[in-house]
């Protein structure tokens, strides 16, 4: 009997059965088939426990949502205090916490940024960014990167893989152009007709396995945007909040985006909101018709208060210092593992604590993921490139836990390699 007070399950099997019946049968089965029989129960810091009691170290962090750890005590205290005074507020009126967070975000971003529009999640914030770009430039076309992922809401889904848009008859290929990453010629070809509202890019594409932008690539894309009168939208959902060692990953390249989208980690997984930060030029509709985008839960004030705390924590000098140490230690440790398996563990993509580990097998990351799970680490493969394991440690890790992660990772990578070499992979569900 698993009694959670608000609800209960007879057993883990009972839970999974009801998950299939009432929630999502395919997703539920997908993980069971992949050998990941995970139902997340208790969570704390960078650890969580499966229903069955197994302890796992979280290197997925929901794409950086738990950047500051699960149930960060400072964020819990902040939310509890905020609840003594606030609720989500009223989205129609000038709002105390929304305004305070907007000011803090604008000050944290590049100097050209002016205002913040709120969504209730990252997808909505991307929709806002794209709609804002279309209004600003009075054009429909959006250019994104092949294998990009910017969310699944109405407009955002068009920027990503057609797997997700065609399923719901939501593909609009005439409006959404996709070009290969790191290919400036393709980008220029897409922009040349001057009919594009915006280029949207994750600073390091997460779901594609964090391929790093070639040196100068982001700057060159920004220059092309200026040349062909197009807006640059930086999707900083996974690269923001110190994960690359700077508050916003895009600032490392010196690019000033016209619009910046922030989600996930900004509320630490406590009370979700997402934010679209825009330049003066892109603020036009906020003066023309401020009710142009309405979202009851967008910028919920409880979330805004938590976000202010997240920004404050991320801005501490201690955090900057620690991100550096963590990234350094992972770089060394992963290189040492790579020296053992040079033909198998063929690549390390890293910017700060944003990392992609590349394996020499079409679904290598799925195999490593399974063995990591068996050895107490949860990290997810890249949906759009299953050779790459997304390896996303938190920014407040201590040295002991980092060493533990590296120990477990070394063993899991070795076992995955053994499985691939023995050809026994087919015998194991994967």
């Amino acid at each position: 009997m698993y009694d959670y007070g608000f609800f209960s399950y007879e057993s883990k099997e009972d839970m999974l059965e009801r998950s299939r019946a009432f929630w999502n049968p395919d997703k539920t089965d997908f993980w069971q088939d992949a050998g990941i029989d995970l139902v997340i129960d208790r969570r704390e810091g960078y650890l969580f426990w499966d229903m069955a009691g197994r302890r796992l170290i979280d290197l997925h962090l929901n794409g950086g949502t738990y950047n500051l750890g699960h149930r960060n005590p400072e964020l819990i205290a902040t939310l509890e205090q905020a609840m003594q005074h606030f609720d989500i507020g009223n989205h129609h009126f000038p709002a105390l916490a929304r305004t305070a967070l907007a000011e803090a975000l604008v000050k944290s971003a590049s100097p050209n940024m002016r205002r913040v529009i709120y969504g209730s999640g990252g997808g909505e914030a991307i929709d806002i960014a794209l709609k804002t770009a279309r209004h600003t430039k009075q054009r429909r076309k959006i250019v994104s990167i092949i294998k990009a992922y910017h969310g699944h809401t109405g407009v955002a889904v068009g920027t990503g893989d057609e797997r997700f848009s065609k399923l719901f008859l939501s593909d609009h290929p005439e409006e959404f152009v996709q070009v290969p990453f790191n290919d400036l010629n393709a980008m220029e070809d897409a922009l040349r007709a001057r009919d594009v509202a915006a280029v949207i890019m994750e600073t390091i594409p997460a779901t594609y396995g964090f391929p790093l932008p070639a040196p100068g690539y982001l700057q060159a894309v920004k220059r092309l945007c200026e040349e062909y009168d197009t807006l640059y939208i930086a999707d900083e959902v996974q690269t923001g909040l110190m994960r690359t060692g700077e508050m916003w990953g895009i600032s490392k390249s010196g690019v000033e985006p016209d619009i910046m989208v922030i989600g996930k980690g900004i509320t630490g997984g406590m009370y979700p909101i997402a934010c679209t930060v825009v330049s003066e030029e892109c603020s036009a509709w906020l003066k023309e018709d401020g009710f142009g985008h309405i979202s009851t839960g967008g910028g919920a004030e409880l979330g805004c208060v938590v976000s202010l705390k997240v920004l404050e924590i991320c801005g501490r000098p201690e955090v900057r210092s620690m991100v550096h140490y963590i990234a350094e230690r992972f770089q060394q440790g992963l290189r040492q593992i790579q020296e053992i398996y040079p033909d198998w563990f063929v690549g390390i993509r890293q910017d700060g604590v944003v990392m992609g580990l590349e394996f020499n097998h079409p679904v290598g990351a799925k195999i490593v993921m399974k063995h990591l799970y068996a050895h107490g680490v949860w990290a997810i493969f890249s949906t759009l490139d299953p050779r790459i394991l997304q390896f996303k440690p938190g920014i407040l890790l201590g040295p002991e836990l980092v060493d533990e992660i590296l120990d477990r990772t070394e063993v899991a990578i070795g076992k995955a390699y053994a499985e691939v070499r023995s050809g026994s992979r087919e015998a194991v569900p994967a």
Partner: protein, 507 residues
């Protein structure tokens, strides 16, 4: 005025401070792999930075705390930066030690993260001292200054930290709690990531350190008897005592608390004390001193570190402007006698005893009241008395024919120079010596089979640690060359110190 009542389950700043400890841990992990050359380079830079700012911080400390004497604080600040490093430069707490005869290899293992509490009385000297000790032993350190001296201490820690990091130290290895409070300090002391607490300060803070459950080095209060026996060079003793008692207006815990003098030389000593700059009070004046400086038999805390003339004014005494010490004779050493207890201002008790045995008893009685394990001083030319005194009084250091303030602190003796006086088991401390670098490092002993047939290995020239991550978070830079300005300052400081030391050690 906040609309929301910001009630905190944990003290304000605790989460941030815990983050400082964690950052320190990362720094300590890296630091523990540094070799001796790197460590020496860092200390050269940090000691120089400390010395360069000795005067500025001396002034600032007096201004912020209202205690002490600028010139004397300069001496202490230099003693705890350049002089301290000169003293230990050739010591090595970093490299392996090979004992081939014993077939034991010793590998130094730093504590990790030191949480250091520094007092308001000797703010900068103690900050310098603990930071240098931490660096010599490759420890990271988080300094929590006394709230009464937090601004000057925070600034000093930042200066030392900048100098250290510029010379290649790991980023974050020296940090400071900018807004210390008692609940915050307790939270940090009990934090599991604190590896050792080094507590210098009041009794409450030291006891809290030992209660924390973490390893702690805390020291007790002093109450120094200065016994002048009949064989003493009385004039020299008077000069030493007055110089020592007036040093930094008595705020070193090693300052003389009361003179115990054998009757035979008492009158002569009183004359010599007067000659040396002390004012010896009449019985009526003593009453006024008791009334105004020790209301309810307690030392007035607001007068700590004030000069003798300020104290005289408070007590309504007319004394010459050059008066450096007020001497208050009393008759009997008993626990309720405030003149027989620690006085952190230049009031010196004086009690006459008929013979040596009674003198030793009086000193013992003083230390029964308070100050056990700390320091005592004797002025005598008779070796037997000196030894008997040392064996009888419950202290762990006895200085002979020298001022105790800088004597027990190791500046005017060959004791380890220190700002932290271990009071040992008598004084409820884990440390019985003057705190020195070796107390902050453990050694892993790699021991071979003692059987003669088993050979020992050759470890000479081998390095136990590889420094893979050479990169501290801040880009490493060469230490800034001394500017003409700092050279001038250094010269000035040197001159001042030489003069002061000459005066202190007039032989």
């Amino acid at each position: 005025m906040s609309v929301i009542e910001l009630s905190h389950r944990e003290p304000p700043g605790a989460a941030r401070a815990a983050m400082m400890l964690q950052r320190a841990h990362w720094a300590a992990e890296l630091f523990a792999r540094y070799d001796i050359e790197r460590v020496r380079r860092i200390l050269d830079a940090v000691a120089a930075a400390g010395e360069a700012h000795a005067e500025r911080y001396a002034e600032w400390a007096v201004e912020e705390t209202g205690m002490g004497v600028v010139e004397h604080k300069v001496i202490k600040n230099v003693a705890c930066s350049r002089d301290l490093w000169d003293r230990y430069r050739d010591h090595d707490y970093v490299s392996p030690r090979i004992h081939a005869d014993d077939k034991v290899l010793e590998l130094p293992r730093p504590a990790g993260v030191i949480f250091a509490l520094t007092p308001t009385t000797n703010p900068i000297a103690t900050v310098y001292f603990k930071v240098l000790l931490a660096l010599m032993t490759r420890n990271a350190i988080v300094v929590s200054p006394h709230p009464g001296a937090k601004a000057v201490c925070a600034d000093a820690v930042r200066v030392l930290s900048d100098a250290a990091v510029a010379a290649g130290a790991p980023d974050g290895c020296i940090q400071v709690v900018e807004e210390p409070s008692i609940p915050l300090i307790e939270a940090l002391m009990t934090d599991q990531t604190t590896d050792v607490i080094v507590a210098t300060g009041g009794n409450a803070v030291v006891r809290a350190a030992y209660r924390s459950g973490n390893p702690a080095i805390g020291v007790g209060p002093g109450n120094v008897p200065a016994f002048v026996d009949a064989t003493a060079d009385v004039a020299a003793a008077a000069r030493e005592i007055v110089d020592s008692k007036s040093f930094d207006n008595s705020i070193l815990c090693t300052n003389e608390s009361a003179i115990i003098v054998e009757e035979e030389v008492a009158e002569k000593l009183i004359r010599e004390l007067g000659r040396a700059g002390a004012h010896v009070c009449t019985p009526e004046e003593v009453e006024r001193v008791r009334e105004h400086l020790f209301p309810d038999n307690r030392m007035r805390l607001d007068l700590i570190g004030k000069s003798a003339t300020v104290l005289a004014e408070e007590a309504g005494l007319k004394v010459p402007a050059a008066t450096r010490v007020l001497v208050a004779p009393f008759s009997l050493v008993v626990p309720e006698e405030p003149l027989a207890r620690e006085k952190l201002f230049p009031v010196l008790g004086l009690v006459r005893v008929p013979n040596t045995r009674a003198g030793i008893s009086a000193a013992q009685a003083m230390l029964r009241a308070t100050g056990a394990g700390h320091s005592a001083s004797i002025h005598s030319t008779r070796a037997q008395t000196i030894m008997e005194y040392g064996a009888a009084v419950k202290v762990l250091r006895v200085t002979v024919n020298v001022g105790n303030s800088l004597g027990s602190a190791g500046v005017l003796t060959n004791l380890a120079p220190t700002m932290t006086i271990g009071t040992g088991f008598y004084g409820r401390s884990s440390l019985g010596e003057n705190l020195e670098p070796r107390h902050l490092v453990n050694w892993t002993r790699v021991a071979y089979n003692a059987d003669r047939s088993v050979p020992f290995d050759e470890f000479g020239g081998m390095q136990p640690w590889r420094l893979e991550a050479a990169a501290p978070a801040a880009p490493a830079a060469e230490p800034a060359p001394a500017t003409p300005e700092t050279d001038v300052l250094r010269e000035e400081v040197r001159r001042l110190i030489l003069e002061e030391l000459k005066e202190l050690t007039r032989q």
